[in-house]
Amino acid sequence: MSSGTPAVVVDRLTKRFDEFTAVDGITLTIGRGEVVGFIGPNGAGKSTTLRMLCGLLTPTAGQATVAGYDVAREPEKVRQNIGYMSQKFSLYGDLTVRENLRFFAGIYRVRREDLGSRMDFAIRMAGLEGREDVQVTTLAGGWKQRLALGCAILHRPPILFLDEPTSGVEPEARRRFWDLIHDLAADGVTILVSTHYMDEAEYCNRIALINQGRLIALGTPRELKGSRLGGQLVEIACAPLGKALARMSAAPGVLDAAIFGDKLHVVMAEGGLDLAGLRQALADGGIQVGEARAVRPSLEDVFVRIVTRKQDAPGAAA
């Protein structure tokens, strides 16, 4: 792969299973050393896209090149250049840490003289020093995930596809995992990582929001949060929430309203109601209103906003 070519080029990539369209015309280019997050709910098409990029699934339409090789026509060339962690934990639980590493090193034909240093690196990276001879099944979730990452990078692939690597892992371990991802990216590894944890999206250079098989937004976290909402976000503590939501959705100048935990998030258009007007509108509906303040939007706000806008106006540009 020459330094000029992007690591991954996805062009109108589509996958249909019978009548169901799992991935619907996704287009995306990823530069070398970039960390791109695939964000979206379960079933959005993240895994299917990653599997097509690994050559595990054949695209129904469109194309993709990984490390300069077409995934449908040259899957074996693609496989030389990628590391992959599937959604399901997929190491051998009845083998030890070292035996798993040795197995995957052999499968990837890591040269004998490099074997020791690569395995040591993976063990250190995963923080598994002293546990080399422990059966993997006895390890806690975070360690397993880091070992799986270690196995996926033994052959030093320039591109990594990680499919929900942190799902079901405790927060502290998730943070450690993301540190590893950034260390790898600093070494020039390109990483496409899917997650349904919105907070993890903040760690990515760029985010691709995926919903119902479509790419609905693409940009840096800052860009998405800044430009995508189209108005001021207000957080209101009020009760009952359901009634408040119904009232706000119908109120003039309100672009969007959604329940966030025990509060209501409302996106207000420029020049519409101000905070006081908003409180008044709620109080008029017999709703108890507590604190109301303008807040910086999170990615979750952006995601919800974009998804609702799409559903309201089908075919509208994201």
Binding site: L56, L57, Q80, S90, L95, E99, F103, G106, Y108
Partner: protein, 376 residues
């Protein structure tokens, strides 16, 4: 290529070593099945429950009955007093056979006339009934011979000299028609097939189910490397199986092994290739272990019944005989029985060896074609 196969083999054997039950599962069921088949699979009939109704009460009738009593084949469980009691004994399952000697039996014999003897057999188990009937005719035949001198005396004036034809059966290869000799080699083939097919199928499907298969598929490994790495261990286990149960059959059940070990080895290798290929092929049709189990169950019984293990293929309807052509066990049973009991070699067995080689290559090719490195 060798490096990948080597790490696959190493992994399989490590997993086998870790699996504490594996050693038990691999060996104990084989030996138990061998014992069960060796002792239970027999067509010989002993101590058939018999009821006797002697309405003649003569010296001759008592002599006939004593012939039955003397034979270990029959055990008189009831001396019936009338026909109704005979019917009851058979209906209620107390007796499988009833021997009814009508009044006038001795008189008929004395007069040199045919003396009818009524035998009632419970035909529910047609096999036992047939075998018991053949014993009865043997015993009655012996009885007639005993009576013959007396008859000759009374019929001394007969002009025609009595010509007796005696058939002397001389079975080859198994002089005593010992069924165990027939069954044990068959058991070796049958249980090896069951074990190797299911081990192979499950090993592949387990990787698919656990997700490790997906992880391997994204690597540059070639299908043939994966398939070899996944089948060679079970091929080796199969060789061990055959050696173990053969030794058991020879040493414990004293089945003779008069053929060439080389022919046996060649047959076993081809048979095991067919078995692992079949297991592999089944695995490509199963996504989960349950599916593999169901598929295994679906195939294994017909393989067994259509192998000639117990039921002669020649007696099957033509279309079913046609089905047996694709059954590797059918050919291996011919080879293993021939090697054990007949001692014949390649000149006689090449068609069966060739058929196994052909089946193995077709199934192996089919499973390599079916095993794409994709999840589509």
């Amino acid at each position: 290529m060798y490096e990948r196969i080597a790490v696959m083999l190493m992994k399989e054997f490590l997993q086998l070593k870790r699996d504490r039950w594996a050693k038990f599962r691999l060996v104990v069921p084989l030996l138990i099945q061998m014992l069960v088949f060796g002792y239970a699979a027999t067509f010989t009939v002993h101590h058939v429950a018999t009821t006797v109704l002697d309405l003649d009460r003569s010296q001759a009738s008592r002599a006939l009955v004593s012939h039955f009593v003397a034979s270990s084949r029959f055990q008189v469980v009831d001396w019936a007093q009338n026909q109704a009691q005979v019917t009851r004994d058979i209906n209620e399952g107390r007796a499988v056979i009833a021997i009814v000697i009508h009044a006038g039996f001795a008189k008929d014999l004395e007069n040199g006339q045919q003396a009818p003897l009524q035998v009632i057999v419970d035909g529910t188990n047609s096999n036992t009934a047939l075998i018991a009937l053949s014993y009865i005719s043997q015993i009655v035949g012996l009885f007639s011979q005993d009576q013959a001198p007396a008859m000759l005396r009374t019929a001394a004036s007969a002009a025609v000299p009595a010509v007796s034809i005696s058939l002397e059966p001389r079975p080859w290869f198994n002089d005593d028609l010992n069924e165990r000799w027939f069954f044990i080699p068959g058991v070796i083939g049958t249980i090896t097939l069951l074990q190797v097919v299911s081990l192979t199928a499950f090993a592949v499907v387990r990787e698919r189910e656990v997700g490790t298969l997906e992880q391997i598929m994204v690597s540059p490994i070639r299908p043939v490397e994966f398939i070899l790495g996944k089948t060679v261990p079970f091929f080796l286990i199969g060789l061990g199986d055959v050696a173990l149960v053969s030794a058991f059959g020879i040493l414990w059940f004293r089945v003779p092994f008069i053929g060439s070990p080389l022919v046996m080895f060649a047959g076993t290798v081809l048979f095991l290739l067919a078995a692992v290929s079949l297991g592999l092929l089944l695995s490509t049709f199963s996504r989960t272990q349950q599916q593999a189990f169901a598929l295994n169950f679906f195939f294994v019984n017909p393989l067994f019944i259509l192998s000639g293990f117990a039921f002669p293929i020649a007696a099957m309807p033509a279309w079913l005989q046609g089905v047996t052509v694709v059954n590797p066990l059918r050919y291996f049973l011919v080879v293993i029985r021939a090697v054990f009991l007949k001692g014949v070699g390649f000149p006689a067995l090449w068609p069966d060896l060739g058929a196994m080689a052909l089946l193995a290559s077709v199934m192996l090719a089919a499973s390599i074609l079916r095993f794409h490195k994709s999840l589509d």
